[in-house]
Symmetry: C3
């Protein structure tokens, strides 16, 4: 019996294009039969937010963060040429034209392929995000769990 190869990705970025790159690599690695983990931290947590508003109690600063950050993968901006939100529309138009998968579809595919999606509990605290606001069927962990995966990883990326 040979052990599975492992890929781990820290998704720090809250940019649509960077999250796409992370999920394309993750889905590729899963198809390649790797054990794959995406550890969402800081702005990368926004990729896991649900579209709808969750009824949760928050302090003032946490509410502000909640309002200012994009609610879910589909609302994230681009790292380059965002043009006040016009850039993402261009990218999405061109993706549709080329039959490329959107970010929400890439995330769904990752879940189907059993990519382990992890939300960093420490930064959830900092940004005031609660479990009710994030996608179902994800895991919650801290940096120690990430390192335990990564130290066995063949491919470890920070995106």
């Amino acid at each position: 019996m040979t052990e599975k190869k492992k890929t781990t990705i820290v998704l720090f970025s809250g940019d649509y294009d960077k999250a796409m790159a992370a999920y394309i690599i993750a889905n590729g690695a899963a198809a390649y039969d790797h054990e794959v983990t995406i550890f969402h931290t800081f702005w990368g947590l926004n990729a896991l937010r649900k579209n709808e508003k969750a009824l949760v109690k928050k302090g003032f600063i946490e509410k502000m963060f909640g309002k200012m950050m994009p609610r879910g993968a589909d609302k994230m901006g681009l790292s380059k040429m965002n043009f006040a939100g016009f850039g993402p529309k261009m990218i999405k138009d061109v993706m549709k034209k080329h039959n490329a998968m959107s970010l929400p579809q890439l995330i769904e595919l990752a879940q189907e392929q059993e990519v382990k999606l992890v939300a960093c509990t420490m930064t959830m605290d900092l940004l005031g995000l609660q479990k009710e606001e994030l996608l179902d069927n994800i895991e919650y962990a801290g940096v120690a769990a990430y390192l335990a995966d990564a130290e066995e990883g063949n491919v470890n990326l920070f995106i």
Copy 2:
């Protein structure tokens, strides 16, 4: 016979300074006798663009992307302190003063050292970039080829 060590870099960023860092590490690793691959995806593809305009047919959005993105390594901006294009001039002045290699020179050196320069075909499609617009003597591949290299890699970076 010992196998060569491997370094792979995903160059996602279209920033002059980040591309410099990628190529400095790549050239260092090649000098260190690693087998090195730089996989250019998204905005990182701009580092491979030729200066001159290529005669290719494009759709409307693809033409717009083509116009808005920098044509080649020398025209890329900085990730920090770009100051509407003044930052890159400052960096280039200071690089000349210290006899540091410019990004186009670093790319040329990488080609001489047989660093494998790969353009990601999926994002070329998305951004409407065609082979005629990119440097000669590069390879074209997708995420599967990247992963095949990376899973054997000693050093794998996402820049």
Copy 3:
């Protein structure tokens, strides 16, 4: 006798939040008994700057870079939602509320845990930074030394 696992991080970014992520991972890995190196290059060097002004002689461009770049970890901006400096205050307020360590505290902890903090000499030259301006008890090296560490690394990240 088993060899220690190794983690290396290239800290390229000069953003407060990205530097935090780098130091949290580094401190976690050190607690996990890894040998850890953070190689500070380009804007990441700013995390190592002392608060006070050092008396050093510089050329004109180097002086300008020195003035425009943040003097030390505590003065760095955010990669997202910086809002002309208001964002870092929000993050710092929320960190205090959650008893999270500030970046200067994380750097201190890293030094206590014997994380090897390295300043990239080539980019120090480019940005006109001198040893007198950087923290005490750090090391100075170039890309070859980084690669020697990274090629033995279990976890190698570029942040």
